[in-house]
Amino acid sequence: MGDEVQQLTRAFSGTVSICHRNETCFDRSIILQLLLPLMPSLIIISCDDQLNAKRIEGLGGLGVDEPTMVSALARWRKQPEKRSGFRKGFPGFFKSHGDIDRCEEEYMLHLAAEFARFKNLMVLWAMHPWERDARLAHHVLHQHHPPAILVEVASTRSADELLGARRAYHQLFHHSLEEDVAYRAKDKPYCNLLVGLVSAYRYEGPRVNEEVAREEAKALGAAVKSAAAGGKKLAAVAENGEVVRILTTRSKPHLVETFKYYKEMHGRRIEEDLVGHGHGEEEETLVETVLCLAAPARYFSKVMEGALRDGADHHAKEALTRVAVTRSDHDMDEIRDAYLEQFGVKLEDAIAAKAHGHYRDALLSLVGAHHQQ
């Protein structure tokens, strides 16, 4: 029975709570011995009365293991004592109140999010890409999702995809995207940068004017230097008119050349110069812009790693679904390569280790791997 309990608790998002101080948790310590060698995502939390909701967030993996849960239904049919043993063996989910083992509120919320992961993925996948991007942008503006998502949508889509998203935004929300961005970000230092990014309709041909690219690399370097020298935060760079002009109007091939010249002239890549100057939203928005424009595959691979590491927060985890769905048809192969290069592990293996059930299988299909269960 310990075996089956362990399986089922793992199916509920791989979370197990063990009481390690209370002598009455006698049965549970046996379970601990059984479980320890078998569970990669074993988390230990105390049997305090109030479970800390924040600690629950980083627990376990992503999604739930639906097949295991369903098989438990069959195996334990007409055996309520097994269910009762399960409840007693999972104090993170259930709390004993005399005769009844009640559900923990925080855990129920956590479970709702995990069960919904697969649903959210499928709905996002089914949508037209233009509507998808318009809704993602709207969430940033009206539900305070991280502005990085807006930078991502504006900078990694093709000019016509961005136009389509703007059109969809008109139809869905009866405003223009740039109108809403300008309004919501109007007091932030990166406002002009964001408005410029979402309004851009970049030339997509390969023609690049080398001289202009060189000059602009110089201008970017000067802006970065003057911000660093003046001891100002990098917000000053994000507000610099020349920087905004270059990043929001030049074509992507032109920017790639410009960043290449930047590296030649200054010995470092521009994103290295921008990072490490503090972690305010302003700095991050600028760094994300540069990364998305210059090397989107590496940017996306970093986002995915952020979702898969321990202690990832709610928004970081949602990014996994978003990147998998939106890039599956485009540059997912490059992202897989970048992931292997940056983190030494195959993306599909990292996903298989952290995610469960249908959600895991969905992610693996989108990522283009053929992982055997």
Binding site: S176, E179, A182, Y183, S199, Y203
Partner: protein
């Protein structure tokens, strides 16, 4: 609304090409023939004629025209023959490259075209100039004008009728406040003018009049020599009353000593297939003289002929 007159039965495209080719043949050029064909065909026909001409004679029609005719007449014919999106792209490129504070082509393109037409112009710009419109405007325009014009040409405004009235009231107040502090290039003014939809802007300007007892443009006349203020006023007029805006351009172009042919050609060539009729009516109302008569008085020969043809006066 359009003044363009097209014959009830349009000759087949091949015949039109032949006529044009004949007009170029031999010594001299038959300008009247050129006008009788091109000035009486709509955009779809003109596109078909250009394609067929290139196939039949191995030379671009516009190139051939450039070889045969010159000066103001050439500019008028070529601008007219282009499709609206290309025409806007060409005008925008000319102005961006040699930009000066009095320039109005960019403002007109951004504010009197529908959002779809503005976007078509941006696409045509890519095709023709291998750069984006906003890229060139940003690179050639400086200072406060750049802060204003780049977002103005990059906007893809909501095109529908939905308006938020309380937002209109609050943004009218914001505009009033900034104008009174003489912060004309304030980010809020630019944000409102360059991102809000036309319907929302009209509601905002109405609210301004209701709240402060005079139209917003009255408050933007503090310094008659300030070109930035003049540009703001032009933007607002283009939204509120484009026909009267264009009427004024024409009146200033035709009035006084000499004639500003660039403005005259631009307005007539760009509006003939849209709302030149309304502009004519506004002109008559304001000047007590039909526009055709004023144009005939101030222009001569072939240039006069094509303008009158586009005005529907033949």
């Amino acid at each position: 609304m359009a003044t363009l007159t097209v014959p009830a039965v349009v000759p087949p495209v091949a015949e039109d090409c032949e006529q044009l080719h004949k007009a170029f043949e031999g010594w001299g050029t038959n300008e009247k023939l050129i006008i009788s064909v091109l000035a009486h065909r709509d955009a779809a026909h003109r596109r078909a004629i250009r394609r067929a001409y290139a196939e039949a004679y191995g030379k671009e029609l516009l190139r051939a025209l450039g070889d045969e005719i010159h000066g103001k007449f050439e500019r008028a014919v070529i601008l007219w023959t282009l499709e609206p999106a290309e025409r806007d792209a060409v005008l925008a490129n000319e102005e961006a490259k040699k930009w000066h504070p009095g320039g109005r082509a960019l403002v007109e393109i951004a504010c009197t075209r529908t959002p779809a037409q503005l976007f078509a112009a941006r696409q045509a710009y890519h095709d023709r100039f291998k750069r984006s419109l906003e890229e060139d405007v940003a690179a050639h325009v400086t200072g406060d004008f750049r802060k204003l014009l780049v977002p103005l040409v990059s906007a893809y405004r909501y095109d529908g009728p939905e308006v938020n009235i309380s937002l209109a009231h609050s943004e009218a107040k914001i505009l009033h406040e900034k104008i009174h502090k003489k912060g004309y290039s304030d980010e809020e003014i630019i944000r409102i003018l360059t991102t809000r939809s036309k319907a929302q802007l009209l509601a905002t300007f109405n609210s301004y009049k209701d709240q402060f007892d005079h139209p917003i443009n009255k408050d933007l006349k503090a310094d008659p020599k300030d070109e930035f203020l003049a540009t703001l006023r032009a933007i607002i007029r283009c939204f509120i009353c484009p026909d009267r805006y264009f009427e004024k351009i024409l009146r200033l172009a035709l009035g006084g000593m000499g004639t500003d042919e660039d403005d005259l050609t631009r307005v007539i060539a760009t509006r003939a297939e849209f709302d030149l009729k309304l502009i004519k009516e506004a002109y008559q109302k304001r000047n007590s003289v039909p526009l055709e008569r004023a144009v005939a008085k101030d222009t001569t020969r072939d240039y006069e002929d094509i303008l009158l043809a586009l005005l529907g006066a033949e």
